[in-house]
């Protein structure tokens, strides 16, 4: 038993090292003083952090991306949650078709999806606006959100709900006190996924941004056409820092501290 745990732990840490190794190098290289990334950097400097944080272009794109990702994550999680409630509890004609169509954005190769979304936004005159990107991103992240929610709801014991209702609890109250807490991990996974995917999306967004509205990944992509300065590494580092801070604060505030394994009995 103990050796198996040990093997598992070793494997886990090895996987973490694999996942984090290139990231650590990027973080270190972000402190290069030169205009080009160098590892190990000859000396440490905050030049690129000053550059990024002092530039309204960077900050603007950064802000746009955060607002967009938040709107996308909220809307898609809500929409897919409602749909998953129906598809996991009811059988109806066309259900398989619906589930397949929800996965469609994942089936379409990135570039094709990008063209389809561009065609859509041109039709509804949403190109280059936050609203247009919002619609496009909601479609893009839909499969990533729907799946964990369905899996979460499937494993949820409907008997609990029934028992509560039999005992006289009104449906909404049952939903809030029984259903919601039970699938919280799935909801949080779905939200986090959609937030990060939307935040990171670039292959489709390149076509969809306009002169007055751009996102951070598109700004990065534009910037690296001529060169990848350590500014990109600095942006990535700041992004990781910000995400970690954000998640820590939210988990303290809303109490999602133990989102995983809350029922695993350890």
């Amino acid at each position: 038993m103990r050796t198996r745990s040990l093997v598992l732990s070793l494997f886990g840490y090895a996987a973490l090292v694999f996942i984090l190794a290139p990231i650590v190098i990027v973080v270190i290289a972000s402190f290069s003083p030169a205009r080009y990334m160098e590892f190990p950097p000859p000396s440490l400097s905050l030049r690129w952090y000053r550059e990024v944080l002092g530039s309204s272009d960077w900050l603007g794109a950064f802000g746009s991306s955060i607002v967009l990702a938040f709107c996308v994550a909220t809307a898609t999680t809500a929409a897919c949650f409602l749909a998953a409630l129906v598809t996991t509890r009811r059988r109806f004609v066309g259900k398989s078709l619906l589930e397949m169509l929800v996965q469609a954005p994942l089936l379409l190769p990135n570039a094709a999806l990008a063209m389809a979304l561009l065609a859509l936004l041109v039709q509804i005159k949403g190109r280059g606006t936050l609203g247009g990107l919002w619609i496009a991103h909601c479609i893009l992240v839909m499969p990533f959100v729907y799946r964990p929610l369905v899996n979460g709801l499937r494993q949820f014991d409907l008997g609990l709900e029934e028992a509560a209702m039999t005992l006289g609890s009104p449906p909404l109250r049952t939903f809030r006190l029984i259903t919601l807490p039970a699938i919280k991990p799935s909801l949080i996974t779905a939200f986090a996924f959609s937030f990060i995917i939307s935040f990171d999306e670039v292959t489709a967004s390149v076509f969809l941004v306009g002169v007055n509205y751009t996102t951070l990944p598109v700004k990065i992509l534009s910037d690296i056409q001529s060169d990848a300065t350590p500014a990109i590494a600095a942006v990535s580092t700041l992004l990781m820092l910000l995400t970690m801070t954000f998640v820590t604060i939210v988990s303290r505030m809303v109490g999602i501290g133990r989102v995983i394994g809350s029922r695993s009995g350890h």
Binding site: D57, F70, L118, V206, V211, L221, S222, S226
Partner: protein, 359 residues
């Protein structure tokens, strides 16, 4: 506890509502931009150079507001906004501008509208017919032999054939078919046969370079990293990257022109069809054709002016490119870009058939 529950729910509700409503608010708040020049340009160096050397002085002189939007690809920017043009000026390679014009996305430039064109040698005008151009030529760079001085010596790179020599096996880098079709293959074809149209020779040469490469690079950022770290020691590549590195005090990557010569890379400004405020766009192009902005642009990115009246600092050009401007012009080959553009799509497919087989 109960109060906390409530406020938490109210917070969630508020957040959700604002998240759903927000995009619509800002959609309506953003009006169509007008009354300014909006130029599409490549992010980083080119955009900054145009802002400082062309845009801001123009704004000062005419009072017309100027803005550069940095994009990953100016062609994509124009094509994806063709149905509702947002830019009124954009920066392209000769071949790119020819393609856009053919696709009906840009307007023809009337030679008579720009008297300064008289100061540009006629062979550098991308003509549609005697009176029209696909774009206004502003400056040029070149495709030279870029190399890492720590790992290769200039003497070893006297000929383009160094890129296919066993000595540099898996130590050079090359571009992919999409750009080789524009630059490498036309150049090798001309270099080997004296005729850019004899593509077979160029294709064979490119295939050998690819076979000798550590990798085929995808972006300039990637090839810069390869050359700086010495993962690749030499590459047929944009000389302007060496210029910007030297400007930053990085001297381990250099450029030279092998004995066969090198390819000239000319750039133009175009005006999208049906763009907002075309009169201002033409005014801006007229300004861009004068010597002054081209003189200023040189220092930033090493873009060499077409306008023969432009006064340039030849010592600086010599220091950063290793050649003076007249020296460069003498050694650079300017192909028939219309032919390059017309044959490009087929050429890409042929190149892919030659080099793309996995494993």
């Amino acid at each position: 506890m109960r109060g906390f529950e409530l406020s938490r729910r109210r917070f969630a509700g508020l957040a959700a509502t604002s998240a759903l409503a927000m995009p619509y608010v800002s959609t309506t708040a953003l009006g169509a931009a007008s009354g300014e020049i909006i130029m599409a340009n490549f992010g980083g160096g080119p955009a900054a150079s145009f802002r400082n050397a062309y845009g801001l002085p123009f704004q000062e002189e005419t009072g017309i507001k100027f803005r550069v939007i940095e994009v990953p690809s100016t062609e994509t920017a124009l094509i994806s906004s063709a149905s509702a043009p947002q830019y009124n000026s954009s920066y392209h390679s000769f071949a790119g501008a020819m393609r856009l014009y053919k696709m009906g996305i840009t307007e023809a430039i009337a030679i008579d509208d720009y008297p300064e064109l008289a100061d540009i040698p006629e062979k550098f005008l991308p003509k549609i017919d005697d009176k029209h151009l696909v774009g206004l030529p502003v400056h040029f760079g070149f495709y030279g032999m870029c190399y890492n001085r720590d790992f290769a010596k200039a003497e070893e790179l006297k000929s383009w054939n160094a890129l296919i020599s066993p000595k540099f096996k898996q130590r050079v880098s090359a571009t992919r078919p999409t750009f080789a079709s524009l630059y490498d293959v036309p150049w090798y074809s001309y270099m080997l046969t004296g005729d850019q149209k004899k593509l077979d020779a160029g294709i064979a040469q490119y295939r050998k370079v690819i076979a000798n490469s550590v990798t085929a690079y995808t972006s300039m950022a990637q090839n810069n990293q390869l050359l700086e770290r010495g993962e690749a020691v030499a590459s047929a590549y944009y000389a302007s990257t060496v210029w910007t590195k030297k400007r930053e005090g990085i001297n381990n990557v250099d450029v030279l022109i092998p004995e066969e010569g090198a390819l000239m890379l000319p750039y133009v400004l175009v005006i999208p069809k049906n763009c907002p405020w075309p009169e201002a766009a033409r005014k801006f192009l007229a300004y861009a054709s004068t010597p002054a902005p081209a003189e200023r642009a040189l220092e930033g990115t090493g873009s060499l002016p077409f306008n023969t009246k432009a006064k340039v600092d030849d010592a600086m050009i010599k220091a950063r490119f290793n050649y003076t401007l007249p020296d460069l012009v003498k050694q650079l080959y300017s192909p028939d870009w219309a032919f390059v553009e017309a044959t490009r799509l087929d050429l890409i497919k042929r190149l892919e058939a030659e080099v793309l087989m996995p494993q």
